[in-house]
Symmetry: C2
Subunit: 392 residues, 2 copies
């Protein structure tokens, strides 16, 4: 089969708020080859990924992403890696390319899965899929009281695990942060798995992070996520030496295999969190899952948009039985819910199952999506090089 079309659809809520909620817009990817179609999603900044898909060439190692995809043969999963390698070589100097490739790689796994009638996790080489323990992923409340309410609400919904992140955490005093952490633990109950996401708030400030460690240990946080920016390997490592049972978690910012490998090799991580919509898709995510498993680091998906992205993020570690925690965003904006006809929901035991249907097992809802479509046009030298394609 030959790749005949690569369509990017920019979707957005009517109003995007200045909060740490990644479900406010989306970039949906549709790829067609032969009689088959596959769907994928790129994380964040839709317009920039669209530009990198179609931009004029700068030189031989800075080509638009589409140049390495359109017209390529796609007959089995090996072609997906070949196409990814082509993009990485031909768009070496195009920084955004890894994010753009991510949605394309995801759509290709979906397409090949649908063509072969096999779920993606089987095509990845896994014989079985194992249930995951979803954590409800929410923002910290504006104050401890609000966080307490959020935590109680999550516990009442039957979640065994919850992650609190962003909001005011880390930006205020240590005392305020301690109150927030205590509220989260209280609301969740003694048995709940409590995860904390600092959202890179301390950048590379080791002391600021260390000042919160005592309380994190006291509330028995399972992990502290992103105390620092992704590249701060030595700061991560230094913090991990004094963190006791609170594991270091990070990796969502990685946009290639090497960056994730460095975090595993040098940062003292206990949990590596990979966003398939950023790191280069399912192919590279699975490479990281394999490497993490070999190195005794637990793989966790990172995802904060639609259930299409959620399914893509779960496939790479579906068959890793002991890697049980998974991210499951529960405060999605209406756009992210409307994007798909079916949804991934916890079973009566509160466990999440990776879809057992061909490809990603998620059906885009073209009627549901339509109201959120953002008409976009790019014109260079009088020639329109991008206009929003028709939803079909």
């Amino acid at each position: 089969m030959k790749i005949e079309s690569v369509d990017f659809y920019y979707l957005s809520m009517p109003e995007v708020l200045d909060i740490g909620d990644g479900s406010q817009d989306a970039l949906l990817v549709r790829i067609a080859a032969g009689d088959h179609v596959g769907w994928g999603e790129c994380e964040a900044a839709p317009l920039v990924s669209i530009a990198s898909l179609v931009c004029p060439m700068s030189h031989s190692a800075c080509k638009p992403v589409i140049a390495s995809v359109l017209g390529q043969e796609i007959n089995d999963v090996r072609d997906i890696r070949r196409i990814g390698d082509l993009v990485r070589a031909n768009s070496l100097d195009l920084l955004q390319a890894d994010h753009t490739l991510s949605g394309i790689d995801i759509a290709l796994w979906d397409l090949v899965g649908r063509a072969f009638g096999e779920p993606t996790w089987k095509l990845l080489g896994y014989k079985s899929r194992f249930p995951k323990t979803p954590y409800a992923s929410v923002l910290f409340g504006d104050n401890a009281e609000e966080t307490l309410k959020k935590a109680r609400n999550i516990a009442a919904q039957g979640f065994r695990a919850a992650k609190f992140g962003w909001g005011p955490f880390g930006l205020s005093t240590v005392a305020d942060d301690c109150d927030q952490l205590a509220a989260a633990r209280e609301g969740l109950g003694e048995e709940g798995i409590l995860l904390v996401d600092a959202g890179t708030v301390w950048n590379t400030n080791l002391d600021a992070a260390r000042a919160r460690l005592k309380m994190l240990r006291e509330v028995r946080a399972t992990w502290l996520e992103e105390p620092f920016v992704s590249g701060a390997l030595s700061e991560y490592h230094a913090l991990s030496l004094g963190s006791g049972l609170v594991g270091m978690a990070g990796g969502e910012g990685c946009h290639n295999f090497h960056m994730a490998k460095h975090m595993i090799d040098y940062a003292g991580l206990k949990y590596v969190q990979i966003d398939a919509g950023r790191i280069g898709g399912i192919t590279i995510s699975k490479d990281v899952a394999d490497y993490a498993a070999r190195r005794g680091v637990t793989y966790v998906n990172h995802t904060f948009t639609s259930n299409l992205a959620l399914s893509a993020s779960l496939q790479p570690f579906a068959g890793l039985e002991s890697h049980t925690i998974c991210e499951f965003p529960t405060e999605l904006k209406p756009l992210a819910k409307a994007m798909t006809k079916n949804h991934i929901l916890p079973d009566q035991n509160g466990l999440l199952h990776v879809p057992d249907a061909p490809g990603l097992g998620i059906e885009p809802d073209l009627e549901g999506i339509a109201p959120y479509l953002v008409p976009t046009e790019i014109t260079v030298h009088g020639k329109q090089i991008y206009t929003t394609p028709r939803l079909r």
Copy 2:
């Protein structure tokens, strides 16, 4: 002073060829504050950096770059770092942002330098500037014969050093590559400093790189540049162990301080090559220069476009006396030459001097640029969010 405007100008040769020549297009940056103007340049993929400047916000950590720049106070060099930190935080999930920020940071150093009447290298804290030994940076010929001619031509121009890169090197047989290397050495003469750039051609393939080491030692290459992609730290390190006097060089792909630090810490580099137009500008380049000097690694500029970019790339290590080699592209396309009124040229001893004029010491040539301007428009939801600004 308040930053009143941030203008991006997409420039391009009428025809962009599929060769490894980064001077075929450019993204020129103009920033105005108070009565002053500064000029900068972003490396590669102009349209994508334009999109990342003006794109709609995705969420609180994925804002357009301009949101952290326009309206900011710029009164001294500390404001430049503050603005860079703002961009990195507010555009954390916008991958292209580091490249976009680079041109802005460069323009801000130029602006502050012009406002204070001081050259950038002085504002960076250097008391003196030291002459550099420029290497002529050229592509390998299509065959050894062509490379021999190129090398003889460079020697005849009085260059003491030359770098050969890209073209067929590494893609053909080991024997062909040996012929190319021998031709380069022969043409350059026994005394010339010979540098070799593999342009990441072996990706992470250690054996392919090792197969060329013997010949690289025989022709006394001073360095082997980018045998692998930037992230392949362990492969770089493994190759360095058997490379003898041939130093490992790399780093141009780094788009933040951390990536360069990792290459210095873990990759066995002898030369770290930083492109101020990619890594986040002059501010971050100087951070890397300081760190490299502390760690005994030699800093080298990477640049392949106009003399504006060349000056920006030289400032961060202008005062490091023992870091003498510098890149000096000699096959620039007419666009890159036409962009500036004045040019940086070797003196009668073949040495290069960082400009001693306010800011970057380079005057853009607005009339020279005009024919290369690429009219560009981006429209989102019926609203034009970018159109090429008037050259002024």
